[in-house]
Structure formats: structure tokens, C-alpha cells
């Protein structure tokens, strides 16, 4: 099965639908940064990529991140560069935003706000889901 998958990609150039599900706030753990790295790898292979931000994952997109005093790299500008890699489908949980008192104006990139049901449908359409 795994072999078939690799052959497909290598010889037929099959494009699969990949969704990266982000559920962690940035900086407290390495998940958000690692997810971003893997997203860029998927983009390099011209896959059909979408990103979902739910729970504390919505904080990854918060405007105004300033990491100077912590001496950690601020990777939030990378989300704005995703467009250049044809990663343009960013879905954010409406519920998670509301729980945190956030609106789309608070985010550094344009996103599509989805209800839980819409998000479930979006997940249902994927070939591969990677959760961070």
C-alpha cells in the first residue's frame, strides 16, 4: 500500500488533498512551527493543501506578535508568505475564535471562518490529514 502511494506520486504526479490541522498556540510548544515546516514541504510537492486552525491554533495567526524579549524567532510573517507557495485555503474555527474573543480583523492573513459542521465536512473531503 505504502509502495503504491509512493509510485503514484513519483510516476503519475497524483495530487492529493492534504489538510494540516493546527490546534496549538505558537511558542509554548514546537507544534505550530513544525506544522508550518511540513506545510511548506507539501507545497513544494505541488499538493492540494489546506490549513485548519482550531482551538488554541487560532492564536498562531494573531496580529502583533513580538518575540524580541523572549529571543525566540517570530515565525508569524511566514503565514503571509504561504500565498506565494499557492497555499491559499486557510480555514479557521468560528467557535474557537469566539471563545477567545477574536475576530478576523485580529488575524494577520485573510481566512475563511467555518462552523464546526463546515469544518467537519472540509476534513471529510481530504485524502490526508496531518494534525499538530
Amino acid at each position: 500500500m505504502a509502495d503504491d502511494m509512493y509510485e503514484d506520486e513519483e510516476y503519475d504526479g497524483v495530487v492529493k488533498k492534504f489538510m494540516y490541522v493546527n490546534r496549538k498556540a505558537p511558542y509554548g510548544t514546537i507544534y505550530a512551527l513544525e506544522s508550518l515546516e511540513v506545510v511548506l514541504i507539501g507545497a513544494a510537492f505541488d499538493q492540494d493543501i489546506s490549513l485548519a486552525f482550531i482551538d488554541d491554533g487560532v492564536y498562531q495567526l494573531k496580529k502583533g506578535q513580538d518575540t524580541k524579549a523572549t529571543e525566540i524567532k517570530n515565525f508569524s510573517p511566514t503565514y503571509r508568505a504561504l500565498e506565494m507557495y499557492d497555499v491559499e485555503k486557510l480555514y479557521v474555527s468560528k467557535d474557537s475564535m469566539q471563545e477567545r474573543g477574536l475576530s478576523s480583523d485580529d488575524l494577520i492573513v485573510p481566512v475563511e471562518l467555518l462552523s464546526n459542521e463546515q469544518m467537519a465536512d472540509m476534513m471529510d473531503q481530504q485524502d490526508v490529514i496531518l494534525s499538530f
Binding site: 502583533g64 518575540t67 525566540i72 474573543g101
Partner: protein, 100 residues
């Protein structure tokens, strides 16, 4: 008195909730790392923290607040400290309880 530090997001773990259940009046709470999300207004946790502020001193580590871009919505009355202020708090209190 104890200085309680909480480094987990209240949305993800029950660390803050448990800490608040087990701290005495007059003790201190310092929110650090992902714990800073508890220090924000307009969230489902704001009320719980505002309530806690009536009986204890609540502080937030400013560099962690700024890193996460949420410095614009700090609950009124929560005091910001820098790394040196963190050390001062640790010295001023008898014990530090680092909730994980």
C-alpha cells in the same frame, strides 16, 4: 505565601483551574508561556481570572504576552513583569509552586 506560576493555556489544560482551586487568599499567580492566554479580556476564562484577582495578586510575564501578540487585550489590573521582575517575585515569596 506562595508564588504560583502557570504555563499552560487554560483552553487546553485544567492547570489554571486546579491552581485556582488550591491557592490561598493573598497568594500570587504569575502567568507565563501559554498561561498568558488566561490574562486576556473577552475570553471564556476572563471572568474566572477577574474573580481570582479579588483574592490574589495576578501577574503576567510581558515578554510571553508580547510574543503571542495579545498585549492589546490584557485584563485591567493584571500587573506586567519582565524577567527581572519574575526573579524579584520569586525572592519575595516563601515558595514557588510551578504548576505544569
Amino acid at each position: 505565601m506562595i508564588l504560583h506560576t502557570v504555563n499552560k493555556s487554560p483552553f487546553e489544560k485544567n492547570t489554571l483551574t486546579s491552581c485556582l482551586k488550591h491557592c490561598k487568599d493573598g497568594s500570587s499567580l504569575l502567568l507565563i508561556e501559554d498561561g498568558v492566554f488566561a490574562a486576556l479580556s473577552g475570553t471564556t476564562f476572563s471572568e474566572k481570572v477577574t474573580e481570582a484577582m479579588k483574592k490574589m495578586n495576578v501577574y503576567v510575564l510581558e515578554p510571553d504576552l508580547n510574543a503571542r501578540g495579545v498585549q492589546d487585550r490584557l485584563i485591567d489590573g493584571i500587573k506586567k513583569v519582565d524577567y527581572a521582575g519574575y526573579v524579584d517575585l520569586a525572592i519575595e515569596h516563601d515558595t514557588v509552586d510551578a504548576w505544569l
